[in-house]
């Protein structure tokens, strides 16, 4: 972790003004909650919520050959991306270990925006730069750009209120540049909550304007500013992994159950040989979602997982799910035990509590 003083996003003063509880996270001072994690979580599930994601890294890769080069650096297949589309993908080391999980957007024929984890930005940049070959260029624009995620079933109404009736929401995974109050912002139809929503990227100078407009126009919809606390419970209910908890350089996408985002039919990308081997022999451990069987203490990262008295793994994420009101989590368990419906036990302060391995996602929106 960085020893330098934590950085402030362009929305820091707004968070303080709104009474947020601020915590250091990945080298940034971030709001963990404004009023209540549970209330903020429910706002996203039921109406709409807005998150500051300015801490996330934004890297621009461009130049002749950028597409082929990036396709050899990332696991998913960029050739499937039309201009204006994005995909979830991984940056791996030679051993197939996860350096970062990210979304890559193709914003020009040979120009890409990579939205990466805050804590990994410097490492990702350094890694990519190490392999860079002219005339491709990479720029870390993180310090000059910000972002917000606006998520929840009322996104359509809020989008209309923000951008006017002549502009439509971009399709899922698409990114478009839109005019906004005399400036230009990029809007991507994506998110980390399981709800419909957008992520908006803009120059740092425009952050406050967009944030306050969304809060103002979202007021009749019941919008809430939401912190990292709700972001974490929302993503965990969907079984979206968190790098640093569920993913690390010691884990690969196959063991994490995310092989869908790895295209091994590509002739070459860093980590490919290692992943092929993992696929062939099977991962030693798999990341599985689980739910506690009884009301009791919620599971937490690093709690041990047992089966018939034998230790079979470790919890990487855990919480009390605000939507389900059950303790839920994700754990790496030995592959032999990683079966949906399998009974496991989570050790909490010396006592074992029963849990069941579940199917992804842990939370499913009821038809309505």
């Amino acid at each position: 972790m960085t020893e330098a003083a934590p950085k402030k996003t362009p929305l820091y003063d707004e968070h303080v003004r709104l009474g947020a509880k601020i915590v250091p996270f990945a080298g940034w001072l971030m709001p963990v909650q404004y009023t209540s994690i549970v209330q903020e979580h429910q706002a996203v599930r039921n109406t709409v919520g807005i998150f500051d994601i300015s801490h996330m890294g934004q890297l621009i890769v461009e130049g002749a050959g950028a597409r082929d080069w990036l396709n050899a650096m990332l696991t998913n297949n960029i050739d499937k991306l039309d201009v204006g589309m994005g995909q979830y993908t991984f940056l791996l080391n030679e051993r197939g270990g996860i350096i970062d999980d990210l979304i890559v957007y193709r914003i020009g024929d040979q120009k890409f925006l990579l939205v990466v984890n805050a804590a990994r930005t410097e490492d990702d940049f350094a890694w990519l730069q190490k392999y860079l070959c002219a005339p491709i260029q990479i720029e870390n624009r993180s310090a000059n750009f910000g972002g917000v995620a606006i998520q929840g079933p009322r996104i359509g109404d809020l989008f209309l209120a923000l951008f006017g009736k002549d502009i439509e929401l971009p399709p899922r995974n698409a990114i478009v540049d839109l005019p906004f109050e005399g400036t230009k912002v990029s809007v991507a139809r994506t998110g980390y909550t399981g709800e419909d929503g957008i992520e908006v990227f803009f120059r740092a100078n425009d952050a406050v304007k967009l944030w306050n407009a969304a809060l103002e126009k979202g007021k009749p919809l019941g919008i809430k500013p939401c912190g990292l606390g709700a972001r974490d419970t929302l993503r965990l209910e969907m079984c979206y992994p968190l790098n640093g908890s569920d993913l690390s350089s010691e884990r690969n996408p196959i063991g994490a159950g995310l092989g869908f985002f790895v295209d091994v039919t590509k002739p070459n990308f860093i980590g490919r040989d290692a992943l092929l081997k993992t696929k062939e022999i099977g991962p030693r451990e798999k990341l599985v979602p689980f739910r506690m069987k009884n009301k009791g203490p919620p599971p937490r990262p690093h709690y041990a997982v047992f089966h018939n008295g034998e230790r079979i793994g470790e919890v990487t994420s855990g919480t009390l799910s605000p939507s389900l009101n059950w303790g839920v989590g994700m754990a790496y368990v030995s592959a032999a035990h990683a079966k949906i419906g399998a009974e496991i036990e989570i050790e909490i302060r010396g006592q074992k509590f029963p849990a069941t391995i579940e199917k992804k996602p842990l939370y499913k929106k009821s038809a309505s």
Partner: protein, 125 residues
């Protein structure tokens, strides 16, 4: 933050209400606000003997688990079972229905080690 004048406090954010030979213990308004939504409380075992500053209960929020300490040496003679069904009482009424346990204290002199409201207010700024 509400810091009632008639209570005593610990550095670890418990409040203490003297009731004759016993003390009633909970966590302060400041502590509940820092912890955020309390979702689970592990109560101490009845009749458990505890040393001062020994962790004897756990309060869990959505984010994390936090130990709750015996403010002074004593024996647990009552626990707040209502918290098992409604842990949010700690957020809503930290000094009332959100109390956690009652200790029969070994030595009333031990209470002199605790902070008064003014000292606690200074601690939390």
């Amino acid at each position: 933050m509400n810091v009632p004048d008639d209570l005593l406090y610990t550095e670890s954010h418990e409040w203490i209400k003297r009731e004759g030979e016993n003390i009633r213990v909970g966590i302060t308004d400041h502590a509940q606000s820092e912890l955020t939504d309390v979702v689970y409380v592990e109560l101490p075992k009845m009749d458990r003997q505890a040393d001062a500053k020994e962790a004897i209960a756990v309060v869990e929020s959505v984010k994390a688990a936090s130990d709750i300490y015996a403010p002074v040496k004593g024996t647990v003679i009552e626990v707040n079972k209502a918290l098992e069904a409604d842990p949010g009482l700690i957020n809503r009424e930290p000094y009332g229905q959100g109390w956690i346990f009652v200790l029969k204290i070994d030595n009333a002199d031990d209470l002199k080690q605790l902070k008064d409201a003014e000292a606690y207010r200074k601690q939390i700024g």
